[in-house]
């Protein structure tokens, strides 16, 4: 038990000591988190009126970011499978980073859902005994369960492995491998359930599509590895730890398959929408071409498609992706493209036009923007801290004193 307290003390000390650049980075993230928190306090007092949400468009930036981040969390499975199923030793070196990123993404998801609640203090209504969870009928109840479960899995596996390493002990397979295999199926389930969350209702024809879950997973398998590439480039650049080329190669390959596949699925969706050309095409029409003179999202969706397209070119041209700068650009374009496409580009048009034919547009308010930024900064903060500790333990710099 004493070792365990010592473990936490050592980890915290490791997480919050570093070079001046590191301190500056942490300070920036703390500042952004604090400003988001300050605006959230105001939102708690005033109500969600500080957002630009309306009776017509009742979900916005919070839920859009939530959706995107569920995908980031699910994408950890792309490194978990080759490590534990195919025993790729090179990937084993970085798999903990991916698992910690998944845990971070889930924390951010839960925060985005929480800030979207009108009565966050009533979260106890979700809990067993105190609340009345509408399970199995409500997809949101499912989502709460799978997200919490995935968070626990992704905290347990890296937490246990790092603790054993810290103590210089061999991890017991029975203590983590079953959870690893469970997490593989669980990763698919979180994004599937999140897709069903939108896809399950006839009243929103734009979301009511069978390929929502496949699209979610495929786009997540493009954006997740792209974020990992950016993280690994940063680790490579700012620490003395070297990330092997074979890991970049693996991630590049995944993106070069997933991103075109995402385009294909989008194409299928667009064919269904525009060839059918029923009244239910209105939302897609609003998103891609504008409807009755309203087209706020049109430039966003086309720039998202352009960004994804450019990323495909970069990830399939050897001369480009071998160059670190192009690799960074390609990954950033991929992340941004998917973020717009399945965030704002999927959630907002579901409400436009409304079932009664009302057409109200939406852009986030400054308050929403700052709260979103705060959550992203908080995510970056806990991920930086966790990744730093994990790397220190893995590379033998943080060990229990015996």
């Amino acid at each position: 038990m004493r070792t365990y307290f010592q473990y936490w003390r050592d980890m915290l000390r490791c997480a919050f000591t570093g070079s001046n650049v590191y301190y500056a980075w942490i300070a920036l993230l703390v500042l952004l988190t604090a400003s988001g928190l300050a605006v959230y306090v105001i939102q708690l007092r005033v109500g969600l009126a500080v957002t630009n949400l309306t009776q017509q468009v009742s979900w916005g930036a919070y839920i859009a970011n939530f959706t995107f981040l569920v995908g980031v969390a699910a994408a950890a499975v792309l490194l978990v499978v080759p490590t534990y199923v195919y025993h790729r030793e090179d990937i084993r070196e970085v798999v903990l980073i991916a698992e910690l990123m998944a845990a971070t993404a889930i924390v951010m998801c839960l925060l985005f859902v929480t800030v979207d609640l009108g009565r966050p203090e009533r979260f106890i209504h979700f809990l067993p005994f105190l609340g009345r969870l509408n399970f199995p009928l409500s997809m949101l109840a499912w989502d709460v369960i799978v997200l919490t479960g995935y968070l626990l899995l992704n905290l347990h596996v890296p937490g246990y492995l790092l603790y054993q390493l810290y103590r210089g002990r061999q991890p017991a397979k029975a203590a983590y491998l079953p959870f690893v295999f469970l997490s593989i199926f669980w990763a698919i389930s979180i994004h599937t359930v999140t897709a069903f969350l939108y896809g399950g209702f006839g009243g929103r024809p734009f979301w009511n599509t069978a390929i929502m879950a496949p699209r979610f997973l495929v786009s997540a398998f493009a954006s997740g590895p792209a974020i990992l590439i950016l993280v690994f480039v940063a680790i490579d650049r700012f620490t003395d730890i070297e990330i092997r080329e074979s890991i970049f190669k693996f991630l590049r390959r995944v993106i070069s398959i997933a991103l075109p596949l995402n385009f294909f699925l989008l194409g299928c969706e667009l064919f269904k929408e525009f060839y059918t050309d029923s009244v239910h095409t209105a939302s897609a029409e609003y998103l891609f071409f504008g409807l009755f003179g309203h087209g706020l999202l049109v430039p966003y969706i086309w720039s998202a498609l352009a960004m994804s397209g450019a990323a495909i070119v970069i990830f399939s041209t050897e001369r480009l992706y071998r160059d670190r700068r192009w690799l960074i650009a390609g990954s950033a374009l991929c992340v941004l493209g998917v973020w717009i496409e399945k965030g704002m580009g999927l959630i907002i048009p579901g409400f436009i036009p409304t079932p009664t034919g009302d057409l109200v547009e939406y852009t986030p308010s400054a308050g929403e923007f700052l709260i979103c930024l705060g959550i992203w900064a908080f995510g970056a903060l806990i991920f930086t801290a966790m990744a730093k500790v994990a790397l220190a333990i893995q590379h033998g710099r943080l060990r229990a004193q015996t």
Binding site: R45, Q55, R122, N134, S365, A366, F369
Partner: protein
Amino acid sequence: MPGKSISDESTQKRPQARALRRVEAEVETALKTPIDRRGFLKRLGAAGATATAAVATGGCTTSWDTFFQKHYKEMTDEDKERVFARIEKEAEKRFGRRVTVSDPGPLDGVSFAFCISLSLCNGNRKCVHACVEENNQSRNPAIQYIKVVELDRGTLNLEKGTAYYEGDSVPAADKVYLPMQCNQCDNPPCVKACPVEATWKEKDGIVVIDYDWCIGCRYCMAACPYEARRFNYREPQVPRADINPNQGYLSNRVRPKGVVEKCHFCLHRTRNGH
């Protein structure tokens, strides 16, 4: 979103709360302006310090008692008595009006239905206003359960209609009017959607909400195919004189901030045969 006034009577009495409200109004104006407005951060910074201080002392909107309040279906008669008394007391404190909160249950062998003659509806929206008055809906921001869509005669394409028609008289030439509100679905998607069973269908067919259980996730609004649900983005404002004192727990009592509401078939009247 119309209206920026967020004054209400009870908080006016407390200077600390009044200061807080002022800060809120200020910050909110700042927050609602476009992101690139230059003065925003400056104003936010000034307001932020005051707001933090005010919130630290200003306290929660929820008391311990309401925090652990049971779900409507789990309340005993004594629980209901206590809760209703609290709501009545709060209403009196806030609006200076004596109100009674009742809980008429569904009647045996009764199932409600409603009919609208579309050929008689002339689009005057009197029903919208009668509904607002009966049901203590927020006047600012305005929350209305019934939406009347004006359509060209001979078409049912709602996208081409409008709920914002104006003019000197109705009906306008060659127009028809389609009032829409909660249809009290037999198989309501909103009830399926709710993650915490805060909304359900009663045995007489009315779909109700426990406003003290709703977490405000608005998933039911996404699920509803008739756009029948409304969210309280801020504390509902009803002028003192306009309060309807005959209130039902599951129907027209003044709603808390941050919860969803909808047409409840005036159950405090209909279940009593009015």
